[in-house]
């Protein structure tokens, strides 16, 4: 869990004020509650389901269920956590019924690559290399490249700020499995973004590398020719 992703305390208090108003019959207050959480709910359902159309349906059901069960919300946990649980459950149920889109699991060959694979340092301030929109597109593309179990773990823990224990509970896996997925997800994300964020290599170094690569390739070509 990263510190920056923690919800602000005043946001949690505002949620409680809005919930009181909704329970008192104020529907406008529910709209305000939806506005402040729709992005989070969309991101979570998209993380689990991978497709915008499915995520949209799951998001609508999440808010309808939240409205209908608001009286059952216990203030021991944050509203955000309660709502995220509903969203994850809703999305997981849909995924289970969608047999043609079962997520890849840890035994998938595509996930057996060893990470990390890239060892060039990143630029000192890579966020300045791109506009905010470009940066967002790079990050979204990298997240989409992960299979579902890594995508949902990364989003719940590193964007939504859930602890490993909370994320393990809502996803229905044990904490050791969750932590192992989180480590792999982070290393895969790092590798996926490395090509865009690594420091440009010094010219001389690249020439040496290129010369070595050419020599290596020439050797392979000569061996193939010799075998004929």
């Amino acid at each position: 869990m990263t510190e920056a992703s923690q919800e602000k305390p005043d946001a949690a208090e505002e949620d409680l004020r809005l919930i009181e108003r909704v329970l008192g019959g104020d529907r406008q207050a529910f709209e305000a509650l939806v506005r402040s959480h729709e992005r989070r709910v969309f991101r979570v359902t998209l993380a689990v389901l991978g497709q915008v159309e499915d995520a949209e349906d799951a998001m609508q059901e999440t808010f309808i269920k939240a409205y209908r069960h608001l009286k059952q919300f216990r203030r021991e946990s944050r509203f955000t956590t309660w709502l995220t649980r509903i969203a994850v459950n809703e999305a997981l149920q849909r995924r289970q019924s969608r047999k043609d889109h079962l997520p890849l699991d840890e035994s998938s060959p595509a996930q057996h690559r060893d990470f990390p694979q890239r060892f060039e340092p990143w630029a000192a301030d890579p966020e300045n290399l791109y506009t905010k929109q470009e940066l967002r597109e790079l990050v979204e593309k990298a997240i989409r490249s992960l299979s579902a179990i890594y995508r949902e773990t990364l989003i719940l823990c590193d964007i939504e700020g859930m602890s490993a224990k909370e994320a393990a509970e809502v996803l229905g896996v044990n904490i050791a499995a969750l932590k192992s997925r989180l480590l792999r997800a982070r290393l895969m994300m790092r590798d996926a973004l490395s090509a865009s964020f690594e420091q440009p290599r010094p010219f001389g170094r690249r020439v040496v590398d290129t010369a070595a690569e050419v020599k290596n390739m020439m050797g392979m070509v000569l061996m193939r020719v010799a075998r004929r």
Binding site: V34, R39, P116, E127, R186, L193
Partner: protein, 80 residues
């Protein structure tokens, strides 16, 4: 101080970023990355990646998706 292996550093990278390592292990890990270039690269860039993830707030709700959400909620809430 015992020198950690690169595998131990990698296996505990998440726990380090999540503040779940003991102070002794933390010091051992920091000592290793100060001496090992490859682990330092992985450590630094993983930390940067985690910061970027939060900063960019990926996946906005498309306008049409948001509009359909409010219209559906209005429908459902008015029936309740």
């Amino acid at each position: 101080m015992r020198m950690l292996s690169c595998e131990e550093v990698l296996a505990n990278l998440s726990d380090y970023f999540d503040g779940e390592c003991s102070s002794e292990f933390r010091a051992q890990l920091e000592d290793h990355i100060s001496k090992c270039r490859r682990c330092r690269v992985v450590f630094d860039s993983t930390g940067t990646m985690l910061k970027i993830l939060v900063d960019v707030e990926p996946f906005e709700v498309p306008l049409a998706v948001s509009a359909r959400l409010y219209s559906r909620l209005q429908e459902v809430l008015s029936e309740e």
